[in-house]
């Protein structure tokens, strides 16, 4: 069984996935594993997650490295480096 997490996308990541957020069921223990799961969907997801070096992630609104662990019901966000206001 996978775990259900809430995934958010911002900026060009959102444009490529075509959605600002969704609930994802995946057997992923880390942010990286979740990103790879999403990339494997192909299409815009493959483009969005093609190069993780271009992405940043947050778990429950805190910046984290891609090796960070994730748990059910976490809010996981993927976005380009922030550019500030």
């Amino acid at each position: 069984m996978g775990r259900a997490v809430n995934v958010l996308y911002f900026a060009w990541v959102r444009q490529k996935t075509g959605t600002s957020g969704e609930t994802v069921e995946a057997d992923a223990a880390t942010v990286r594993a979740l990103a790879e799961h999403l990339r494997a969907r192909g299409g815009g997801y493959a483009e969005a997650f093609a190069d993780l070096a271009r992405l940043r992630a947050a778990v429950n609104q805190e910046h984290v490295p891609f090796d960070a662990a994730i748990a059910a019901d976490d809010e996981i966000a993927f976005f380009p480096p922030v550019t500030g206001g």
Partner: protein, 146 residues
């Protein structure tokens, strides 16, 4: 703990009202940012991560209040589509001492302009383009020992 007011949203703001709300106890420093006019720039669309901006800005406001003896602070940041010349951000700080007011104001605007979870899409005559993060900003952020 001093008074802190934080607003993030598409609405414009009135710098005069913000200044007035900072009181008259001694030193009031403020920063007002506008969208800079640049050749070919039609508008800037600001996107943010609302739950994260709310949390991070509140945390930085608390840090500013812990580091400097502030009497009040106000932060306003707009999101959405903004044309050149439009107000985009206001940071105001009040203290009995001018150095504290200035430093806290600069600390907060540096955070907002560099590290806050905002993304900017430039709307240009020849299409749209996401603004990329700048190296030079890191130096400014490091000034505050983070």
């Amino acid at each position: 703990m001093s008074r802190a007011a934080i607003r993030i949203g598409p609405e414009d703001f009135d710098p005069a009202a913000e200044l007035a709300a900072l009181g008259s106890a001694g030193a009031v420093a403020s920063f007002t940012g506008h969208v800079r006019a640049e050749p070919g720039l039609v508008a800037l669309a600001l996107e943010h991560y609302p739950a994260m901006t709310a949390r991070e800005i509140a945390r930085h406001a608390e840090e500013a209040q812990a580091r400097w003896p502030l009497l009040a602070l106000r932060i306003v940041h707009r999101v959405g589509r903004l044309e050149p010349g439009a107000r985009i951000v206001f940071v105001g700080t009040a203290s009995r001492h001018r150095r504290a007011a200035f430093e806290a104001c600069e600390f907060l605007i540096d955070y907002l302009k560099i590290r806050a979870p905002f993304w900017k899409l430039e709307e240009r005559g020849d299409g749209n383009r996401w603004v990329e993060a700048k190296e030079s900003d890191d130096a400014a952020a490091q000034r505050w020992g983070r």
